[in-house]
Point group: C2
DNA sequence: CGGTTCGTGTAGCAAGCGCTACAACCGTGT
DNA sequence: ACACGGTTGTAGCGCTTGCTACACGAACCG
């Protein structure tokens, strides 16, 4: 009945590829199915409904992002200013940009009342926060990590609407 | 041919109400028409297509938001820290929240390639930046205003995914 | 060998989308 | 009185959406 657990894993990679490349809004069942080399009919055989499918894909994407971030980690803890500019640069890397795009889409959907997206968004966000905190060399890591997070997500937001220059200016002298 | 200029103004208020209340994603022609007390047929008589309609509504919303912000302006310029916490509180006000939700939706759409949304988002963003700068008492207003903007949009983003506590923590001691 | 369950393709549903063709209204100018 | 142009309703187009009913081969279990 509900045991196609491994079948899912086989296609999740391709589904994640498609979502990262085209965004959630362009990820209806049929395009997703084509990207995964199957049919919409089969997607709904593997997953109970689209919500469950999207949740699984986003979780998969989050896991991939964690891996990516581990590669971008600094070799040793950095003070706030240095870490901020380092991570800000990393997030604008073409490899990271697709993740930030869907993260924005998740936040938007979450703000519009999608409880499932909200849960996933928070999970990803908290993971990101913890990851940043671990890289901080600070005497008040909680506050600095929070401030770091706010700055970084603000950067994501502003770059999305073509205000990347403002982000650069914000980082130029102080954090 | 293209002269129903005032007719638009009469319904833009109601359209804006609906978009602010329900979000862009729930704003297809028929619901919008019902909210405005007309028909989808007439919406496309007043506006060339849906893109033009959305652009007009968002511009209207932006104008309304400017008015709202003028009401929230401090009586005199404030230093960075004080202004940040003042504006952060203002943005979480229920009166502002719908604007932030729509703004997030615009940023998301913009990041996904919608050029029209990108233009509008940037216009709104730059207006907001200038408005903030005018309220800043600082010896380096460009950089501080930019930093203020990044922090505020980061706050919007994080609150959307249920991480408002992180925003509070980020503001608690330093800006 | 028979029956039952698993897996999958085909086809289609009802709803919603942006948009449009067509006809009818209505007030105005001649 | 009549024609005409700006305005509006009706109806529907073609398409996409998430989802499902049904049939049929394969595989497994008795």
């Amino acid at each position: 009945m509900t045991i196609p657990e491994d079948k899912r894993a086989l296609i999740l990679d391709k589904l994640a590829d498609h979502v990262l490349a085209n965004g959630l809004s362009a990820s209806s069942l049929r395009p997703l199915a084509k990207a995964a080399g199957t049919s919409d009919r089969m997607l709904l055989y593997y997953f109970a409904d689209k919500g469950e499918l999207v949740a699984a894909v986003l979780q998969h994407i989050a896991h991939r992002m964690v891996t990516l971030m581990e590669g971008a980690a600094a070799p040793e803890p950095l003070p706030y200013d240095a870490l901020l500019s380092r991570l800000s640069a990393a997030l604008s890397d073409p490899g990271f940009a697709p993740f930030m795009r869907v993260f924005l889409e998740v936040a938007s959907g979450s703000a519009n009342g999608d409880a499932s997206l909200a849960r996933i968004g928070e999970t990803i966000g908290r993971g990101f926060l913890d990851w940043g905190k671990a890289q901080l060399k600070s005497d008040m890591p909680e506050e600095d990590a929070a401030r770091l997070m706010v700055m970084l997500e603000g950067t994501v937001f502003l770059r999305a609407i073509g205000m990347g220059d403002v982000c650069e200016r914000a980082l130029r002298l102080k954090g």
